[in-house]
Symmetry: C2
Subunit: 393 residues, 2 copies
């Protein structure tokens, strides 16, 4: 195993307010995340050797956001943009981490951003829908993302004798923690009743089962371990990442109650980190809850529980802060918001804050094992990235 000095650590985090951000340009929104991240790390732009940006942005007017944000933020180091659909943030993290592990950088920034309101380039739901399978499913059947996840929800509810009310428990949890997170898009509680009364988006999924359209940005400053210990008393190490790709064409998937790419990515991450799975090793989880059903599948795909038992975790509130597997204590994609390219980095920021003990009142997990697990999906399992963090103690 690598020593802490040879690993890569997060030494600074920054997070914009998520929500409808018509008050800022994409460059200004980026700076809202980069500025606090640099300050938190105690470094300046000149110290940064590389900069990667996760962004989907097909609806954006600024077609080279990595450059315009870099220019606005005073970063003239090498840079690139990456896209892995809703896992773009995790891809950005991978690129920045590898850039350091390779010896090509000492300090790098991984960032993610999305401006989804005020899209000049057509209907955003249509453009997101193309990220399923354009040729077969979008063009022929008009599939968009609520429809894709509704297929999974229909199959899951039927296979495991679950009810829409059970799924709503995920929304209730998300909004509870979102109400405690000052950066969240929705800072208000909800209830199973309210969720059940919300309109259907694609049966059986309702508005309250769905993550919103969001503008937002998040950034982390990464450093090689030996540099990190000089910069920070509380470095959070990126111990391992696992990644896998699934088919774009849903008709080719074997299973509609989980995502095979998530399972393969998780296995790879545990193997690289030398861990025996998720159940006994983590204090805090961030899972990709673009829809409530996605959170349930994540519990199972990560191996917290067996297939069909994820819904039971929700029913028993086992993924609340004081449960067995605290998950999405920041409000998750559902309540914190889901600015596509930013989500993976926002999850990294949250796990860092949790492992440092810096989460806001009422939503700080009890940290005993010193490890956190991040699960980030692109598309409907087109991409899966699973990342393991630790305090290195």
């Amino acid at each position: 195993m690598k020593s802490n000095d040879e690993k890569v650590a997060i030494v600074g985090v920054g997070h914009s307010k998520f929500g409808k951000r018509l008050d800022v340009s994409i460059n200004e929104l980026g700076w809202e995340a980069i500025k606090p991240a640099l300050q938190d790390a105690g470094v300046t732009q000149k110290d940064v050797d590389f900069y990667s940006l996760g962004n989907f942005g097909y609806w954006s007017e600024e077609i080279l956001p990595a450059v315009t944000i870099g220019e606005y933020a005073g970063l003239s180091c090498g840079s690139l943009k990456t896209e892995a659909a809703c896992a773009s943030g995790s891809a950005s993290l991978k690129i920045a981490v590898d850039s350091i592990l390779s010896g090509n950088s000492e300090i790098a920034i991984a960032m993610g951003i999305e401006k989804m309101y005020n899209s000049p380039n057509g209907t955003i739901i249509e453009l997101i829908g193309r990220a399923g399978n354009y040729f077969w499913e979008f063009e022929n059947f008009g599939m968009t993302f609520p429809g894709y996840y509704a297929l999974y929800a229909t199959k899951y509810l039927d296979a495991y004798h679950s009810r829409e009310e059970d799924l709503c428990e995920a929304a209730v949890k998300a909004h509870h923690y979102g109400s405690l997170n000052p950066y969240a898009q929705f800072q208000k509680e909800t209830s199973v009743e309210e969720c059940m009364k919300s309109k259907y988006v694609s049966r059986p999924l309702k508005l309250m089962d769905s993550s919103p359209i969001t503008d937002g940005a998040a950034a982390v400053v990464l450093a090689r371990g030996d540099v990190a210990k000089k910069l920070s008393d509380t470095p959070v190490f990126v111990e391992a990442q696992g990644y896998a790709s699934g088919t774009a064409y849903m008709g080719r998937r074997d299973d509609y109650t989980g995502l095979e790419a998530s399972r393969r990515a998780a296995e790879a991450a545990y193997r690289k980190a030398g861990l025996d799975g998720a159940a006994n090793n983590f204090d805090i989880f961030e899972v990709h809850d673009c829809f409530t059903i996605a959170e349930v599948m994540a519990y199972e795909d990560l191996g917290l529980v067996k297939k069909g038992e994820g819904i039971q975790l929700l029913r028993e509130h086992q993924t609340y802060r004081d449960g067995k597997y605290p998950a999405n204590l920041d409000g998750g994609l559902k309540s914190k918001g889901h600015p596509i390219g930013a989500t993976g980095i926002s999850q990294a920021v949250e796990i860092t804050k949790q492992l440092r003990g810096e989460a806001e009142k009422g939503r700080q997990a009890d940290i005993r094992k010193g490890r956190g697990l991040q699960h980030n999906v692109g598309g409907t399992g087109h991409y899966a990235y699973v990342t393991i963090y630790s305090r290195g103690d």
Copy 2:
């Protein structure tokens, strides 16, 4: 310095026919590059640990091309798409190389692709134009890429007492070598006279000063050095990459006779490789000639000659095969074609073929130093990537 076993080497290359490729889908076009690359490396899809795709693609119907191409090609490993404008291919190479150097992969594919004809999403020149500076220059002044490079050409021709005929020499060279490259979009010679008679696109640049709209794909299989020597008798090592970003806003540039980002990227590459610059160290050059003026600036920004002397290299035919600095013996962007996301990988394929001694008749350089230099620009110097290759002997 690293031993060859610790470096990353190209062990397989693949290149599609460049041109107007309405005969294939983007997935089929991708396979045209991946299949020969796998065969050349003697590996199968299962051996590949990671896959990166360089693609610009704002005009594409397939919005997750890394996934659809990966699915079509049988690659289910982790993947991502990257964009660094016209340097997307070099960014893809960086990601795949770093993925191996970091210890996260043993074998990876770096690929690039672009389908530019048959764009369903609006006028392609408009969309490329946005990659300048949307807010100030595109929206207010209607700037597109020929206009941007025409500003550079105007300044250069005036500052260094050069003529449009001199620039046309770059086009003549490009078409000469393009005529010898079976993968090139244009396989025919041209002349200074023909170039001078072609219509102005943006004064002083004419149609024959400009690279074309192109569909194409290219792929390289990369392996860790110790693995590479088992797979290939002729590995080509990626010795070093330098990268830098310039401003998006051209009004902020200090100099309009060269690209500052190119100069900084080149210096970083030479420093990392332990070389004293470009003039005495390379057998073969690939430079980013999106317009003829860009090739002249590249000669100077890379340090082959002093400022103002690049035009003299063209006049004296010093960058032909038998000259002092053989450059773009594949036809360059001008004649081989410029499928944006593929260009950086196409350059890597060409340098590999040259260093292996496998270029087609009439365009194989004399290889004595065993090193090649690649220069790839995104935007108008928004991104610059400079990569050094060697046979490692």
